[in-house]
Symmetry: C2
Subunit: 402 residues, 2 copies
Amino acid sequence: MVEGPVTNGITDGGGAGALLRLMRDGRPRTRSELAAITGLARSTITQRVEALLGANFVLPVGEATSTGGRPPTQFAFNPAARVTLSADIGATHARMAATDLAGEVLVEHRDDLDVALGPVPVLEWVVATSHDLLAQVARTPRDLLGIGIGLPGPVEHSSGRPVNPPIMPGWDNFDVQGYLTEHLGGVVALVDNDVNIMALGEHFTQWPTAAHMMFVKVATGIGSGLISHGRLHRGAQGAAGDMGHLQLPHGADIVCRCGNTGCLEAVASGAAIAAKLTEQGLPAKSSQDVVALARGGSVEALHLVRQAGRDIGEVLAAAVSLFNPSIIVIGGSLAQAGEHLIAGVREVVYRRSLPLATQDLRIVQSRTGDRAGIIGAAVMVIDHALAPTQVDAHIFTAGQVR
Amino acid sequence: MVEGPVTNGITDGGGAGALLRLMRDGRPRTRSELAAITGLARSTITQRVEALLGANFVLPVGEATSTGGRPPTQFAFNPAARVTLSADIGATHARMAATDLAGEVLVEHRDDLDVALGPVPVLEWVVATSHDLLAQVARTPRDLLGIGIGLPGPVEHSSGRPVNPPIMPGWDNFDVQGYLTEHLGGVVALVDNDVNIMALGEHFTQWPTAAHMMFVKVATGIGSGLISHGRLHRGAQGAAGDMGHLQLPHGADIVCRCGNTGCLEAVASGAAIAAKLTEQGLPAKSSQDVVALARGGSVEALHLVRQAGRDIGEVLAAAVSLFNPSIIVIGGSLAQAGEHLIAGVREVVYRRSLPLATQDLRIVQSRTGDRAGIIGAAVMVIDHALAPTQVDAHIFTAGQVR
């Protein structure tokens, strides 16, 4: 059947997890209300609420108005039941956070860190920082729901391993998931590429009702994350959204680090603009340097950023015709150069895409900025770990020290 | 929350529809088994099974082995409870079918019909043929679950209206849904473009377990339908998959019927190849003429079909990097020219797409051929009308003459 997930909703109704899924909206409800909404027997509801109370996932939050007799207790989701850890690893810096189960950041930490050091030094930093963050929020590894990590390269999400990542020497096929689980006391670890987790973070916090969204990261490289029917579309190998190496018609003479010519990333990324500015006598090494020059009013920098927006728009015009999102969010460090990048994108997309696909299309700047990744990595963990069957496993092991 | 549909599964558990959704797999089950699977109270199950029996959606299908006492009755989904009608309207011909609730074609009919006649003559044919087909299967409009129709142009699925369809004069913004509902006794009518329904038909019958699929129709025009997480990805305006008007780098001098230059459809469609063959002294008016020449061994036709495959491959290479499907199905009349079209597609896609996205990618020919559309239109209706809340409405009105 085409709409499989709905069937799952009822077939896994046998556990407390499905009840928690409903309660994640945060509204307090009585046992009777839960029975009415779900159609489950009153005795089943009582049993499952007990299980969720025992695991601390829900709490009694006061009494409803009584219609006579003892007023019934209301229960609500408890976002403080566990914490998540999330890490957003960039090319040259890294950021980590601890969040609650509603995705609220409790504490965060940022460091300069070169991903090219290889997996062990970088993941040692992640593990050490994990312990620091847990200590800061006065929690132990037992309180950990899981850890989510975003990496700046292609990742096979199902196995948690990078696949031929161009700027991550030594990481190819490294078992990131296994390493984190082993070094953090058996915790659930989920790995994805940085753009996918940014898309999740921006969608969750800013555009939760947008069914079809595209998030484009423009920084040292260029990539995108796709949301279809409110879910991250990772594709068959987790490679979906990889637009940095699509060919521009007019870039045929520019060689890309991937070996091909004319790739969008080789023409319009922060690294490409920095190189062009340096050639023009304005030394720039990174996306950040380009942003600094643009904000300082350099006409050359502004011109190149706007042209990069147009080049990105050329590729996005095709993506818009194919994917027909209702919103495109432009993020990444180069988006912080102001309206020039997005103006270039809009100029081309609205001219080149099919009219039906652009009639209500919005193209906006990221609102979560450089926190999109850590929020998204937390959301990835929460959505996975609070899926019905996972919750039942949690309850089963509740009280045991991992 | 990102995975909304699962929550729906439990919150709408209040009706018989959710139970039917589970039973659509066709397996016979007893009331006790249904209670165990769903966690619903035994009394609730009894009540809902009664409702489904009353509406004929399930039937008693014999007795399970008893563990002592009277052996319990098993119930199973009844695909013969209702029929659907489906119509696949092409540029110059049309096909209709009546199917059961499992999507099996009971009877079908094909006619030459020019879509350019406008909506009223074409839809009059649909209504008349509907009555013929119902009579052939000895059913009345009361037995009709709904009608699904595919049109050869952009359609806003939610409103059931064509939007600026290039080869359908007079159809722009015509209320196809309203017309069919009015002329077929108030029946549910769903409208989509022909490629989306073909994608649904091919996915449902041939690749039901493929999470991410792309169906490409190559005929007079070129278009595609996308399946993400097992669901049709229509996009925000239902415009997703429109790849016929993406630009080819080397087609800049060829004017498309849409007004732009270098569109894939202007270079590689059946119509474009027919025009080239005619220029070369081999008269051809349609995709079908091209197929006849290719099958007859015309070297010119084979050469042009293979080159069209390569051009389609250029655009698909970008689509593969963005969408990362596990399978691409090539259908439409030009696909019947044999392996030449698909060989050209494979040649370019495997060379040009990112290695991660192609490592397990299959590119295959449509297996449903020219029946993909009518099967898909039926599946669209069945999936919609047997959604939990819809079923409850059916049961509510069961016994009333529409």
